[in-house]
């Protein structure tokens, strides 16, 4: 079936495109294109003036497994079993740097992946990326791996990077319909009461699957669709304070360190249940196993 449909679709959409271009709005298309070119030229000349210092306007965020970056769909071996990332995404907020003991907030640009100085990083299906963006118009692919800084910064003097893995309480329990992306993504949202999943790691093995969802617990409200008025009992917002190892260009999440000591199988999923052993181990790793590293 798919083949046949594909053929029909390509033939017909091609025909539609041709038809459309011969309508009376053709010259408008042309005009818009010219305008775009102009805007581009203007913008690029305006920006080059800002780039005097070796300032960075983004921090790459990479996922490593045993000291090497892992790509989408790559198989990793844990406990002699094969595992693959099915979905990995997490929120970073309250990004700061400090030099000589003075803290400075790093505001983030606003786009589909970042708003209110909260950023979503996501590592899913990079193989699909090309095909998705090419034909699907408004769709944005599921892979995003950098923090975009509102003001470029020169990291040479900076010693420490601080951030929160999670979303501040004031932004965590709002009506997702009225929030800007990425604070309105269903797969990263539990409910108004519990707020967002701060980190989501869904792993797929050959015969088993395993998931870890980090978020606030012990949140009290009248129902799942009502927001808590008071801070949750266990906010589970994790803060990190990392010394700079190299130029400061890259933040690394070490997946193997995050999962160290956790047996992955159908029974050990960590969805923030109290007393789940895997949760205890992961929270311990987050606290003292250098899960994040700033290079």
């Amino acid at each position: 079936m798919p083949l046949l449909h594909k053929r029909i679709i390509t033939v017909i959409t091609q025909k539609m495109i041709n038809d459309r271009l011969t309508t009376r709005c053709r010259f408008l298309h042309q005009a818009m294109q010219n305008t775009l070119v102009l805007v581009f030229i203007l913008l690029s000349s305006a920006c080059s003036k800002l780039q005097d210092k070796p300032a960075l306007s983004e921090i790459k965020v990479e996922v490593f497994f045993q000291q090497a970056p892992i790509r989408c769909e790559q198989i990793v071996s844990l406990d002699e079993q094969n595992w693959r990332i099915n979905q990995l995404a997490f929120f970073i907020s309250e990004l700061n740097v400090s030099q000589n003991g003075v803290q400075q907030a790093l505001p983030l640009t606003t786009n589909d992946w970042q708003s209110n100085d909260v950023a979503l990083l996501q590592y899913t299906d990079c193989a699909e990326q090309a095909s998705q963006t090419e034909q699907s118009g408004p769709l944005i692919s599921a892979y995003h791996a950098s923090l975009q800084l509102a003001e470029p910064i020169d990291f040479s003097e900076v010693m420490q990077l601080q951030f929160t893995l999670g979303i501040p309480f004031e932004l965590n329990h709002l009506n997702p319909l009225s929030q800007a992306s990425p604070l309105n993504i269903p797969s990263m949202f539990w409910s108004w009461r519990a707020g967002h999943k701060f980190m989501r790691l869904d792993m797929l093995g050959d015969e088993q699957s395993w998931v870890f969802h980090l978020g606030s617990t012990e949140c009290y409200a009248d129902s799942a669709m009502r927001a808590p008025t008071m801070q949750c009992g266990q906010p589970n917002r994790l803060t990190f304070d990392l010394p700079k190892q190299q130029q400061g260009e890259t933040l690394i999440l070490h997946l193997d360190r995050l999962l160290s000591g956790v047996a992955l199988n159908n029974k050990t999923a960590c969805l923030m249940q109290p007393d789940q052993e895997s949760c205890v181990q992961i929270m311990k790793n987050m606290a003292d196993n250098q899960v994040f590293e700033w290079q």
Partner: protein, 368 residues
């Protein structure tokens, strides 16, 4: 200075637009309660009342099938939330389709169309399938294009095309655009649940439905992991939310060979991507109005909502329970009889009676 020139350019573009095209009609008013986001609409097929009206006429018109036997509405019936109350759909040649007719509820928000396809992202693309596909035949237009088109170049349709496209002649592009506009207009966001959740009316849902809601959003049942967001499907996008999430899951319905295969005649997303892990993966459908769209699942193999709940409680079906590719969120659970009633009451609270009234959606407004 930069922003000035940008403004100026914007101005020029605006003028050019006014000169190039006729003045735009009033913007389309979505039947959306305040606070809900608008769907994303392809730039080349903006919504208009006139297109929706034409699309509505076409949707219910058997003249769109080559032998004048079926219309879109034969398989998508308003009283069943635009689904069909039979397990499989049947096309114009009586050929049986392998899948259950889908409900058409809030599909304007869907980022992926059909039960399982990562490459069909617009309704305009999707509609070509029932119109032109040859195997299986649905409307069966292929090979009968002229004949079918001629049925729409008449006194009844010419004014409708004129109003919708400023051209009175029917062609397939216009038919597809109008049909897409009509099915896009089928928006349902006015259920008791919406009044409770989004309009903060504490008494909009029954006590039982509220208990069911707690179950639905619990880690014990895990329903919301896949049926998340305001549309109860991860496959949603709107004006403020454009990130793509590839929302396909294997729910453990089958396991033909012990290592995860679904029946050969329908293997879900795998047929499209040929990736092993996509075997048996389907899109989580919206649960809005689901009370009315039985039978359930891509192959209509579960007859009632009670069956669906039993299926999830068992962690899948028969050998499918041990399907190695099954989603980690399908683990099974035990429900007390009362809890099951509560969950059913919650699912019923997602029904929007105004949406289901045929009067609202076309039959009565169907042109003679």
């Amino acid at each position: 200075m930069l922003s000035r020139s940008v403004k100026y350019i914007g101005f020029v573009v605006a003028i050019a637009a006014i000169v190039a095209c006729k003045p735009a009609p009033d913007p389309y008013k979505w039947p959306i309660p305040i606070g809900f986001p608008e769907p994303i609409v392809p730039a080349d097929n903006p919504m208009s009342e006139a297109k929706v009206a034409l699309g509505r006429a076409l949707f219910f018109d058997v003249n769109l099938s080559f032998n004048q036997s079926v219309s879109c509405a034969s398989c998508h019936q308003p009283e069943f939330a635009f689904a069909q109350n039979s397990q499989f759909a049947m096309g114009a040649t009586q050929q049986v389709l392998r899948r259950n007719s889908q409900a058409l509820v809030n599909i304007a928000y869907n980022s992926n169309l059909t039960w399982a396809h990562s490459g069909i992202n617009t309704i305009e693309q999707q509609i070509l399938i029932p119109m032109f596909a040859e195997d299986p035949v649905e409307l069966g237009i292929t090979g009968h294009e002229k004949e079918v088109l001629n049925r729409f170049n008449n006194a009844r349709y010419r004014p409708l095309f004129e109003q919708a496209f400023d051209e009175s002649e029917a062609n397939f592009e216009r038919i597809v655009f109008a049909l897409a506009s009509y099915v896009r207009s089928l928006v349902s966001l006015n259920s008791p649940f919406d009044r409770y959740a989004y309009l903060a009316q504490d008494d909009a849902m029954s006590e039982s439905a509220l208990r069911g809601m707690e179950l639905f959003f619990s880690e014990r049942l895990e329903c919301f992991h896949c049926h998340g967001g305001f549309n109860f499907t991860q496959s949603s996008q709107h004006e403020n939310q454009r990130l793509d999430l590839r929302p396909f899951h294997n729910t453990g319905l089958y396991n033909e060979d012990g290592v995860g295969a679904f029946p050969l005649h329908d293997q879900g997303l795998y047929e499209v991507t040929h990736k092993a892990q996509d075997m048996g993966r389907f899109r989580a459908p919206t649960l809005r109005n689901v009370q009315y769209s039985a039978p359930y699942m891509h192959d209509g193999s579960l007859a009632t909502l009670a069956d669906v709940i039993d299926f999830y409680a068992a962690g899948g079906r028969a050998a499918g329970i041990n399907n190695p590719l099954k989603s980690p969120f399908i683990q099974g659970f035990t429900l007390q009889a009362e809890e099951k009633q509560d969950l059913l009451a919650f699912l019923a609270s997602l029904s929007d009676d105004a949406f289901l009234s045929t009067e609202n959606q076309g039959k009565d407004r169907k042109l003679e």
